[in-house]
Assembly symmetry: C2
Homo-oligomer: 385 residues x 2
């Protein structure tokens, strides 16, 4: 039994429902950010990220910084690329476009390849683009939270290695880390940026990232100083290295409560094989997508291989409005999110299925959500054709 | 009685001890960042900041963003000044120097006036500097956490208005908001940036700020786009305005738990007159400084008018090392901080006295700390000369 008060089940693609122990860690008594207890916890948390990202290369560098997931874009844009250098951005929705805006802010020259709505850019066009210009970084949104489109990282990384080996492969993993397979070393990734409040299962407020030794070298070799102060790798790298070595260090005050909660969440995740966790998310996702299709509805992510395993973006029937169905669901104790992809925003809803709602067998969140969706649509006058 | 487990009393100059209700808000169940419950809470929290900063001018703009206090420097440096424009930085320690570094990162041309160690730049030299060059912004650290030196904001702001009326007056209030008087409108301030974990009494993880209508105009009139993405006022201003109008809005996911905790902390602060709160901090500070002098010790902040009311930086006797006294204090259940001002770091310790440790009459934190300091020094072999 949860010790949380009764509340609507949050099934948006982040923040997600949190485990009791994680929430309890949020109210940890106050402690010094440079005291031995917190330093040990922060250090352990950084080391656990290496396991989560499946990297054993000691040159890989984890970062945990107070901020939103968006801060990860600044970390990449202000440190790994210099003004005038080229970035190739693969966009599968709202968040790919945002990453491009961020890169532009810091002076990068951005070429964007847009997937069709509900799809992703294909390898041949990416390969072609890489052959036409020298790109310092390529960025890809692993799962675009606006569409639920999944990008295929492994083949993509292999393609970049072949076509343009010097290009850094940077992944926006905000909606994929801890629910989709990410083999950082094996696939040769150079950076993954994410946030705490999605599949990692810790309240919002932390930017979490991992960079390869190659990315850290590119940073060290840059000619211009970092273009941000708060998001400067120069300021943060020694701090992260000191904490991981269990030595106190200061640049800006971290949040002991959020880091304690992240520590608890990571311990829960790493207490079982990651492969089992990814498998569980895939199974539940398959069940949800089948149920949605059985209702006669279409998914925003068109092809099965482009569909994320921890969220589903669902087109509404033409007769049903977002502003009708979301309050109906809410009345049944289930919170879904509306659409945010500009081209289709009023036409679809988003269902997040990650973390404890999927992995905790005691919870009936998914069954409750599917039942609410079925009856809610019926109450909106929808009948399957 | 506190519901927190027994723990060492944290009396560093932030993070501070937190009230039970604030910590309980940190473990609020998960909710949507765009749902009506959280939107109302966030909106109310922004409005309460207007009271805390004593501004009734509707053009004043509050911001609450996930990040450390340091992010406030980026907010100023990336939005209110353009590359090549001049900034006059008044430094009273480590944090004034940091603000200068941040401004330089974003291309400002920085002139820094350093106070002597333990003192502050004086008005005549500031006036002279303002007469020699056109400065877009002047920054001042209200209380430098590294030295406990208090700057005199009211007279300073008046001096700037007279000598250089177009210069924006920007205050680093990280260690002063909610413990030192700040009359935003009455003194004609243009910006105050702070953090959650000091006198406001909410766990670390939020950058909190207030900017004047004049500052917001200066931002709107800038020629270059903002030089940061995550710290862009262009990205955040509409979000803050929408939330305060109780309308959902999205740029980057805020932390519902931290904002809930901030809401609780601000309600506690605003339940009593602010003047009473400032008075209480001043009384307790006077008592502490008297007790420290009675022990035969010297303060880093030399003159009484330069001494902060919510922290005290104390020179150790020559025979006592930081690495001796801090563990002794810790053994007595009291956590003080070491020195961080480069010129004198190993020679002094810092005692934070703000928030519930000062305002909650049920707590005996200050008596306990003074007694621990007295006996701790004696155990280190110190005797008053």
């Amino acid at each position: 039994m949860s010790s949380q008060p009764e509340h609507p089940t949050l099934l948006i693609p982040g923040p997600i429902e949190f485990d009791d122990a994680v929430l309890q860690s949020m109210s940890h008594y106050s402690e010094s950010h440079v005291g031995p207890g917190f330093v040990a916890t922060f250090g352990e948390t950084l080391s656990m990220l290496r396991q989560l990202f499946q990297t054993t290369d000691p040159a890989s560098q984890p970062f945990i910084i107070s901020g939103s997931g968006t801060l990860g874009w600044d970390l990449v844009s202000a440190n790994l690329i210099e003004p005038g250098e080229n970035a190739l951005v693969l966009s599968t929705g709202y968040f790919g476009d945002g990453f491009a805006d961020c890169l532009t802010t810091y002076g990068a020259s951005v070429t964007k390849i847009d997937g069709p709505v509900g799809g992703r850019p294909q390898l041949p066009e990416i390969e072609k683009a890489l052959s036409q210009k020298k790109y310092k970084v390529l960025t890809v949104t692993h799962v675009d939270t606006s569409t639920g489109v999944l990008s295929e990282l492994k083949d993509l990384a292999a393609t970049v290695k072949k076509a343009s080996p010097d290009t850094l492969v940077i992944v926006d993993g905000v909606c994929s880390v801890a629910c989709e397979e990410i083999a950082f070393d094996a696939w040769g990734l150079d950076g993954v940026v994410t946030a705490s409040q999605k599949a990692i299962g810790c309240p919002a407020g932390l930017s979490i990232s991992m960079f390869s030794g190659r990315a850290m070298e590119a940073f060290k070799n840059r000619k211009a100083p970092p273009a941000s102060y708060f998001a400067s790798m120069k300021n943060w790298t020694p701090i992260m290295q000191n904490y991981e070595a269990k030595k106190p260090s200061y640049f800006a005050t971290p949040s002991p409560q959020l880091v304690r909660a992240l520590n608890t969440a990571l311990k829960q995740i790493l207490s079982r094989p990651l492969s089992e966790r990814f498998q569980r998310h895939a199974e539940v996702s398959d069940r949800i997508k089948r149920a949605v299709r059985d209702l006669g509805l279409e998914l925003v992510a068109t092809k099965p291989e482009d569909q994320a395993h921890a969220m589903t973006a669902i087109y509404l029937p033409e007769t049903v409005k977002t502003t009708d169905i979301l309050p109906k669901l809410s009345g049944k104790g289930v919170v879904f999110a509306g659409g945010i992809h500009k081209a289709i925003a009023p036409k679809y809803i988003r269902f997040g299925h990650m973390g404890v709602s999927v992995t905790d067998p005691a919870r009936k969140d998914i069954d409750k959500a599917l039942e609410a969706l079925r009856t809610g649509l019926a109450e909106c006058g929808y009948q399957k054709a």
